[in-house]
């Protein structure tokens, strides 16, 4: 019997600082019987030896054996992970979860609305849009951050801007005095007036803090998006990633195996979340 608790040893090939506390880590997978296959929106359980495991979204595929993860230091394990450098070893098991609904998205317009590190779980999808542009209709990426310095993947912005029928809308909450900023200010929903996707034939994918996803979803519902066309990626405490340890449960759903991506309609039927606002006692 295969043991799904055992991590594979992977060597870090390269690290790149994105912001003051966010780093992108390229890891080389060991030789595997079949290529490591994952769908945009899925995650891996990454181990730092001596500290523990954490769920991290899978980013880009750099070559057959190398994939990226983008991590923010927020606690014990993530802080240790961002301290690691090229040559260090981590553990990895995955991929886990249900990613973005690519089949439903075929031929549709796409709105990707996200904030801060929430762009990381959309990175693999953006790579796919670049590589297979014909699979989707018009694409809008609305990306917000606290300040310009809190944006990740900034080196990709120019590449994304030249994708045909692709609009990039940037916004920040606050521009520090010394910074130059020629884009919008305000929360991410502020750029929604300028969207060029057609709500009647678009899917919206959003990822970020639940309160942000709540505002995004509400704003899109008002603009004529259907509840079955809005998809959110949810974060819950995870231990196993396999629908067994119980930690990621929201009502009868497991975020690790039924999600992390859910439709707004699905979330509306669930308790204990902020996105659709049901059943979180004060």
């Amino acid at each position: 019997m295969k043991n799904p608790y055992l991590p594979m040893s992977c060597v870090i090939k390269e690290t790149k600082k994105e912001t003051a506390d966010i780093k992108t880590i390229s890891v080389e997978l060991p030789d595997l019987p079949a290529p490591f296959d994952y769908a945009p929106g899925q995650f891996n359980q990454i181990s730092v030896m001596g500290v523990g495991e954490m769920p991290i979204s899978i980013g880009s595929r750099l070559d057959d054996k190398t994939i990226t993860h983008t991590v923010r230091a927020v606690g014990e394990a993530t802080s240790k992970l961002v301290e690691l450098d090229a040559g260090d070893t981590i553990g990895l098991r995955g991929p886990f979860g249900q990613g973005w609904p690519l089949e439903a998205a075929a031929g549709k317009d796409l709105l990707l609305a996200t904030g801060g590190l929430g762009l990381a779980p959309l990175r693999a999808l953006l790579d796919l849009i670049e590589a297979e542009r014909d699979r989707f209709g018009r694409v809008n990426l609305a990306y917000g951050a606290r300040t310009p310095g809190d944006m990740i993947f900034t080196d990709r912005f120019d590449r994304w801007r030249v994708i045909p029928d692709f609009e990039l809308f940037l916004t920040v909450d606050h521009v520090p005095k010394e910074a130059v900023w020629e884009h919008a200010t305000g929360v991410v929903t502020h750029v929604f007036d300028r969207l060029t996707v057609d709500p009647a034939r678009a899917l919206a994918f959003t990822c970020g803090p639940e309160i942000m996803m709540r505002f995004v979803a509400n704003s899109l519902l008002i603009r004529g998006f259907d509840q079955n066309s809005i998809f959110v990626s949810m974060e819950r405490r995870m231990e196993c990633g396999m629908g067994k340890c119980g930690h990621c449960m929201i009502g009868p759903k497991y975020v690790c195996i039924d999600g992390p991506v859910f439709s707004y309609a699905q979330v509306k039927a669930l308790p204990h979340n902020i996105i659709a606002g049901k059943g979180l006692a004060a």
Binding site: V74, R237, G246, H247, P271, H272, G279, A281
Partner: protein, 349 residues
């Protein structure tokens, strides 16, 4: 037809089991019962559920997932789990709970720790011919008698024991016993005793299991939840003693000097504050109300939706071991009691 034998006493069976298996049985300790390794003491087969369910023998409170050294990447070693063991005197409700664990630890990601132990475990179940005050297995169809999913099944017939054989592994044990087959009279006596036991169960869940999903979904915001949650200690007794609760943490014990560590799993409880807390301290079930509802509805509806197996088998442990009794003066049961929870929710708003 199931082959059945008639035993005068249990010693001959226990001696035979001990030859090939490490035998666990309910043993009496100061008036309560524990599943422990059976040595010289007498196993208790009267109906009184053990404080801790036998899940701890198949999924220990803390277990090693693997040991590793971190010199050149992870070099991993998993523990051997080949001990042959027998669960002697496991009750029908606890057998049903174990079948639930088979679903949780099966599926797309099979859990090798559970299945290695499970394959090496002989189920020597015992029907309940008498029942305790807290039992309500008949509401779920999980007792007091067991129809299948055992290797051997005992019934106390008062003038001896009926031993039914349910699998080839059970037959291997039975074949070594030099005892006569049971007669028609023994089998009809068993049926009579189980009918009497069923009739003596006073506790009944107010809503049929098949109707619980809708019943609870409609009452998610019922005012009866709050007063119950107000007197809940969030101690986790109801989940730790529950035979169907499976939740656990994964944690690490590491020695930097040795560059070696161990990854373990450890039982956890959704009633504890940290259970649903994520980084930055954000907690999706911060209040006792949200945690109490999560546990209650997971037991009574969601687990069945997830695994097509009931999340409660009516064993009564949470009725007995919830410490809320003195707080809820005047109520003859604990606030964790599923029958009580459903009863309160049946009251019109």
């Amino acid at each position: 037809m199931v082959r059945a034998l008639k035993l005068d006493g249990l010693d001959i069976l226990i001696e035979s089991l001990k030859k090939d298996y490490l035998v666990y049985a309910p043993l009496s300790r100061n008036g309560d019962y524990f599943f422990s390794i059976l040595e010289e003491e007498k196993a208790y087969l009267g109906c009184a559920v053990t404080i801790m369910p036998p899940k701890r023998i198949l999924q220990p409170e803390v277990q090693t997932l693997f040991n590793y050294t971190a010199v050149d990447g992870y070099s991993i070693e998993t523990p051997p789990l080949d001990q042959k063991q027998a669960l002697f005197g496991i009750r029908p409700c606890d057998v049903h709970a174990m079948l639930g664990f088979d679903r949780v630890f099966g599926g797309r990601y099979e859990d090798p720790y559970w299945w290695e132990r499970r394959k090496n475990t002989l189920v020597v179940a015992a029907n309940c011919t008498t029942v305790a005050e807290e039992c309500f297995c008949s509401s779920w169809g999980t007792g007091p008698g067991l129809d299948a999913n055992y290797d051997l099944l005992l019934t106390d017939l008062e003038d001896g024991y009926l031993l039914e054989i349910g699998s080839p592994a059970g037959e291997e044990v039975a074949i070594q016993l030099d005892v006569p087959p049971a007669g028609e009279a023994d089998l009809s006596k068993k049926a009579r005793l189980l009918a009497r036991a069923t009739a003596s169960i006073k506790k009944v869940l107010g809503v049929k299991p098949t109707e619980l999903h809708d019943f609870l979904a409609e009452r998610f915001d019922h005012p009866a939840w709050q007063p119950q949650a107000d007197v809940c200690f969030s101690c986790g007794n109801c989940t730790i003693t529950c035979p169907t609760c499976y939740c656990y943490n994964i944690f690490e014990d590491y020695s930097p000097a040795l560059k070696a560590g161990e990854r373990r799993s450890e039982w956890d409880s959704c009633q504890l504050l940290e259970f649903a807390r994520i980084a930055h301290g954000f907690n999706f079930r911060r209040t006792r109300l949200d945690r109490f509802k999560h546990r209650s509805i997971h037991k009574l509806s969601w687990m069945d939706q997830q695994y097509q197996t009931p999340g409660c088998v009516g064993c009564g442990r949470c009725v007995r071991w919830c410490p809320s009794w003195p707080v809820r003066r005047g109520r003859p049961t604990s606030l964790a009691d599923p029958v009580e929870i459903i009863g309160d929710l049946m009251e019109a708003v």
